[in-house]
Symmetry: C2
Subunit: 73 residues, 2 copies
């Protein structure tokens, strides 16, 4: 994994976290809705995971945003 790829995943993760907080939701709230364990969401929000499209879709639905917002830099 290159440095720019790491940056990219970090950006995606922090976008998710930012949007989630803006909606007043905790990681646990989101996890409950999409049946994900909180360590896994944490790992995604911290950019340690090369998250798949469908996982992004689930998260986006749970926090009521469009997936594309995760890629607005």
């Amino acid at each position: 994994m290159t440095a720019s790829e790491k940056k990219f995943l970090k950006s995606v993760g922090s976008n998710i976290a930012k949007l989630r907080r803006e909606k007043g939701l905790s990681q646990l709230d989101v996890c409950a809705e999409i049946k994900m364990e909180k360590p896994n969401l944490s790992s995604i929000e911290n950019g340690r995971q090369n998250v798949t499209s469908l996982t992004l879709l689930k998260i986006a639905k749970a926090i009521n945003v469009d997936v594309k917002e995760f890629f607005e830099f």
Copy 2:
């Protein structure tokens, strides 16, 4: 995989294919640049693959678009 998830992947794939063609690139052109085999890109463009963020990033760079464009429905 639910029906709406299938639809979502189909949409992402056809967005990729559409943007690629608009740039006048063949699957092989893109594959050469990102060192991917053409059956795999075909599979992504046809929505048969739950493509990861980094793969989307590579494809986006190769066709010179933003990843978010893959998620404009």
